[in-house]
Symmetry: C2
Amino acid sequence: MSVGSNGVVYARSHRARFVAELIEFVRFASVSAEPKHAGDLRNCAAWLAAQLRKVGFDRVEVVPTRGAPIVYADRLHAPGRPTALVYGHYDVQPADPIREWQSPPFEPVVRGDNLFGRGAADDKGQMFTHVKAAECLLRTAGSLPVNVKCLFEGEEEIGSTNLPAFVRRHRRALAADIAVLSDTRMLAADRPVITESLRGALSLEVELRESAHDLHSGNFGGCIHNPLQALSEMIARLHDRDGRLMIPGFYDRVRPLTREERAYMAEAGPSDAEILSDAGAERGWGERGYSLYERTTIRPALNVNGISGGYQGPGVKAVIPARASVKFNFRLVPDQDPHDIDRLFRAYVRRIAPPTVRLAIRTDLATQPAVVDRNHPGVSAAVEAYKKGFGNAPVFLRSGGSIPVVNLFQEILAIPTVLMGFALPDDRLHAPNEKFHLPNFFNGIATSTHFLMELARIGLGAFHDHRATSFPLQAATMEVVL
Amino acid sequence: MSVGSNGVVYARSHRARFVAELIEFVRFASVSAEPKHAGDLRNCAAWLAAQLRKVGFDRVEVVPTRGAPIVYADRLHAPGRPTALVYGHYDVQPADPIREWQSPPFEPVVRGDNLFGRGAADDKGQMFTHVKAAECLLRTAGSLPVNVKCLFEGEEEIGSTNLPAFVRRHRRALAADIAVLSDTRMLAADRPVITESLRGALSLEVELRESAHDLHSGNFGGCIHNPLQALSEMIARLHDRDGRLMIPGFYDRVRPLTREERAYMAEAGPSDAEILSDAGAERGWGERGYSLYERTTIRPALNVNGISGGYQGPGVKAVIPARASVKFNFRLVPDQDPHDIDRLFRAYVRRIAPPTVRLAIRTDLATQPAVVDRNHPGVSAAVEAYKKGFGNAPVFLRSGGSIPVVNLFQEILAIPTVLMGFALPDDRLHAPNEKFHLPNFFNGIATSTHFLMELARIGLGAFHDHRATSFPLQAATMEVVL
């Protein structure tokens, strides 16, 4: 039996312990958006570091930041072979609305083939596959076939505030030939996917103020422009009847796809019906002329993440609130630049804001769109690994999400990131009753094991050759793919 | 010195104790909208009953209801003289947003001439004037000049849920010649007002649902009609550019005022600048062709009291919420019927709701508009009482608010209610930093004292004569005034 196969056998025979350890990991309420969970984030990082030491990484460090700590680990015993940088995040989304969970979000439980809990899939379960793959290889072969560096952060869900400075400061220590990140989705449990593009993101908050204080809606109703009404009227002027954004210049830099690329997407990607079924929705909506898959991947979008203002408790409160605010989230595609879009959006919002209100706009985060090159040797290794781990070759799909770290590794470390996702469409990322499919956990461990073996087989030369012949990475991938 | 003047002297010499007792009253967090305050409501009712006993009412009862208790008291020692029914409410609005209060809402404090605290003006301070007026008369004259019944409820701010059944059941025990209610505003501390009309109210909640659960705004952004966006688009279709409601049939039954009535309003009522100053707003808004005073009194209005949906916490959450909801509050004028408007609104909302969403509409409360007759003897008594209590004759103003109990007394007891308000325009009813102007408290006690004296002077005959010669009350007042 090969080294990889031995590793897979090891994982199978330690199944119960692996699941129990994942449950321990998910139990930490490591919600990065909520300051009250700072202690949970620190405890989770400490637990993760202890796990990495137990697995057999040589150097394991918990690096404090102004926010949640960064956990770094490496094992570099394969001179002359490629180096893989495994990235993941141990922080999770807020769990609200809590009352919609069938079991408490931070008391993970196995029901059937699934582990339920906030962060089970995004990203604790997925990143843990790589940790356990290293364990399998070290326990069975005594060594890793390539050099492995792990970089696990605790602020991904709030825009990776402290990661860029860390990566810049440690760019030499983090040098690698390929990064791998498991935080994306497959089409089904037997249909693996390599995500080849991500949308950029731009999050802003807009606040309107009208009166100096809340007013009685009897006494003042009819003579004051209610800020919630004014806000609604502005939001209604963002999309036209064709589902297109009305911000002047918004689509100017959106690259059209070739007919061939759209045909591949139509064949490989999810149908409208599949997307609606995943969403639990009856009808689609959006930009006319595109499939739902295209609308969520190669077309930009704007969503309202939340509106705040007025009385939201039980019963009636006759109030005209003094203020109203909204959280907006853009998803952007090549070659839209979030900073350009920020400027266009602000100009448009100022123009459509009624003269009665005072307006404040704040930008919370901005991320570039990203694409990866199918011909990169790290991507080829991932294709082979999936065949062995899941029994099927992966298709290349585009994602509507944004993973800023992919841009960061491209810009600072000059390496692409293989998006080797193990989540399923119904894993309810960011929503109540998030889960992780346990068969994917174990097939993911097998895939990660084979990925490291495959990188060793391909060898360092292929990486050097690719780097020498390819265009500068970011420009090249955009040229080739879009 | 007259009996009334002796009473005023008594109040002046017990000033500190009267303020201390009002502070005790305001200290109860008797928020009827929030179930957690049920105990505070009960304790407040018990305190009020003890106060009424101490003052000298004969029969004092705390009557349990399914909600907050009703406090009833009477002293009926004046056979052959008129009977006044004093109504007030000891419940208060929710205090949120708490952080905008300069001092805690339920730790009342005197700063300068004002007592700050939730309910200081609405309605604890105002209703307490009548309690203390009775004390002044009983301590100085040993008796009340007319029969007095007190009816204090604890659910006014949530639509007086249990009051109608109580009034119907006890209509004989509550029989009176005039009701008096102090829960309205003056123009200034030396410019008293009798409110001659109230708007009706209709509160509804509309909920939209799109997907079965919250969705990731990256993965699904662009292919689902975000419920907060859909809701905003619907709200934007409620008002046209002239500030008029677009609901078909909405204005059909709005009675136009005569030129004379509008001229009186322009002369007696607040200017646009005064209203904006009270609101702390820079610009007015609303139905073209009407002053701000008219827009808030003789014209109907619709306000958004609150919108709920999505993530409202700190930072960013990339979510498409499964649901969004809005609380609406209509203010209606004669002859609009809230049940008709409810029907028209529902039909319109169903028509403008996009086909992508599931819609639910709930009606929370409905109240008829109300007007009172300036020629009623109870109103004449109030005019004289204000002259003595505040040194100036009151003007007749219209209010934009709604007081369902006025309709109730009209319909069940067949008596009008004198709206003898003691609040000031800047008392911030329903808003943070609510206050009551203490000079108004003492002038209010004097006014209430003189009101009871004046009712005795006018005598029961005038009430009988008015009843015999006037048209059926509700129709008559609408004919005469509007």
